[in-house]
């Protein structure tokens, strides 16, 4: 069995709007191995959430998905019907959402919602499913799990609900978990706990994890590999070490300047920011999407699209016309 859990080639998401077609996700390639955590980072609106929904085939009906290759555990699930996809969802791949407060159905007990997931994918009796659900709740660190099964979501705190969501997603022991900003809505102290928990469980179950976030602090703690998205495209991709120690793309470099690094950032130096705004993705767009905000932009940047390239074959790929050397020097030619 292959170690590659997820393989995606050329994913595109278009959303027709009154003013034109919004190219929200444009030619994204992704792969995740067993036991690996891929973090997709980017600011809001860069297409990272739509990417995750597209993988689950759960895009809003208005959005259209185009994709060349979509393999889960080495098996193509691209041509799957809605029925076949629903056999995969929650079974081989699960998803954790941003808002634990609203992601559980208020009308049913935790137990009910967990058991229905199990019984949908596994041929289990109600009692057996209930027992499994209880054990999974214990595994995610919930005390008095048996009692929790009979409770309703509104009786639980946000942190607890997110633990329940995680437990529910793990029930069928999926090969891949996609977590879309799982800690954004939580208190800072709880955030760390949940992240730690996710990391532990991931290695315990040996799953692939795609974590979507805009928080570079989170990325630093948990990522094996990082994909940086900007305006619907991946602009840089590499191991966490590569991205943090040697960011190449001007956007990634800009992002890194925005966060303080303990021991590196000197007291009193102002944190960086990236001037300008994200271009409108409605209609056709040619050239580098970051060009308008880039100090290194040349005329050629705007004339044709820039491919994602890895000139040295070192896994770290970036989407810029400039050479690694030039970018490493911060653009002083």
């Amino acid at each position: 069995m292959s170690d590659r859990v997820l393989h995606v080639e050329n994913l595109t998401v278009d959303i027709p709007l009154a003013t034109g077609i919004l190219h929200a996700v444009d030619g994204v390639n992704l792969h995740v191995d067993r036991g690996e955590t891929l973090c997709i980072v980017g600011e809001s609106g860069c297409g990272k959430s739509l990417t995750s929904l597209a993988l689950m085939d759960l895009l809003p009906t208005k959005a259209t998905r185009k994709i060349e290759k979509l393999e889960l555990g080495g098996e193509s699930i691209l041509g799957y019907s809605e029925r076949e996809m629903s056999d995969v969802r929650g079974n081989k791949m699960g998803m954790i959402f941003q808002e634990p407060m609203t992601s559980l159905n208020p009308a049913f007990t935790i137990g009910n919602q967990m058991i229905e997931t199990l019984r949908r994918h596994r041929n289990l009796s109600n009692d057996a499913a209930s027992e499994l659900a209880k054990r999974m709740l214990e595994k995610v660190g919930i005390t008095a799990a048996g009692q929790r099964l009979g409770q309703y979501p509104h009786q639980l705190s946000g942190g607890l609900r997110q633990r329940v969501m995680i437990a529910m997603t793990l029930l069928c022991e999926p090969e891949l978990i996609i977590a879309d900003e799982p800690t954004t809505a939580l208190d800072v102290t709880i955030q760390a706990q949940i992240l730690l928990l996710l990391k532990e469980l991931q290695s315990e179950f040996d799953m692939g994890l795609v974590l979507i976030t805009h928080d570079l602090g989170v990325v630093a703690r948990i990522a094996t590999r990082v994909a940086v998205m900007y305006a619907g495209q991946i602009v840089e991709e590499g191991t966490a070490k590569q991205i943090f120690e040697n960011p190449l793309h001007p956007y990634t470099r800009g992002l890194m300047r925005c966060i303080p690094v303990p021991g590196k950032t000197k007291r009193g130096t102002p944190l960086g920011s990236i001037p300008g705004m994200v271009p409108s993705l409605i209609g056709d767009f040619t050239g580098c999407r970051f060009a308008d905000r880039c100090e290194l932009a040349r005329d050629v940047c705007r004339q044709s699209d820039v491919p994602l390239r890895d000139p040295n074959g070192k896994v770290q790929a970036y989407r810029c016309i400039h050479s690694i050397e030039m970018l490493a020097k911060g653009g002083v030619a």
Binding site: P279, S280, D292
Partner: protein, 296 residues
Amino acid sequence: MSEINGKTLESQTKSSVFRRRVFGHQGVMIGAAIVLAAVLIALSAPLIAPHDPYYQDLLNRLVPPVWDSRGSWEHILGTDHLGRDYLSRLIYGARISLLIGVGAALISGLIGTVLGVAAGYFGGRVDMVVTFMITVRLSMPVVLVALAVVAIVGGSLQVVIMVLGFLLWDRFAVVMRSSTLQIRSMDYVAAAQAVGCSTTRILTTEIMPNVVNNLIVIATLEIAHAIILEAALSFLGLGVQPPLPSWGLMVSEGKDMMLFEPWLITIPGVALFLLVLAINLLGDGARDITAPENRN
């Protein structure tokens, strides 16, 4: 480049989306056209009515409309059981319907807005009392109470307007209360309070302009509601009294002969249906167009 793009795009879409919503909204356009026509007809009734709506020509009773082989151009929509010209009565009837609709909506709108805004703005006990009043009002059967009061006081145009006005304020109060509550929680109201604006000033300059859209929508729908209720009361003989040409009364008078001369009830009924339909379309459309969630 991109900034300019973004901004112009945004301002363009705001006004154009609004315009498209108004003009692309078939319902609103149809509704507006019919309502406008009805208002014009009502206002110019003495000019366009071919006959006196009260003149009884007992020799020419129950003349069918012109499309019937027995009909004539003299009475395009025929005559009623007393030989009165049906078209003229229909035209004058538009006046009664609109007068009652607008009159009742004005009274109930005033009551409901005062109660609703007070409840939403002051909250606490005021809110409790108003909510209680709404509950009590909703518990009383409108048609029954209206019929009983009209029966005791005696039916007339003024009485019907008053009775409906004092009965139909509930929806105004409910909507105005929730709209005010919503606006009241906005930061700019808190800001106005913080700089020491008086309650009157906040109510007139901050609250009212922001709830007026909803007020117009409800007023439109309540006009239709009042018109349909007046017709029902008059139909039961406890609304506008003969010889006034209320459409409900016309249906009632035609009902005994409806099996032989069905047009007697079809004509005023269709007029009533169309007018109420048009006002509702206008109100629904106004809600769709002004709904904040559509103003992205």
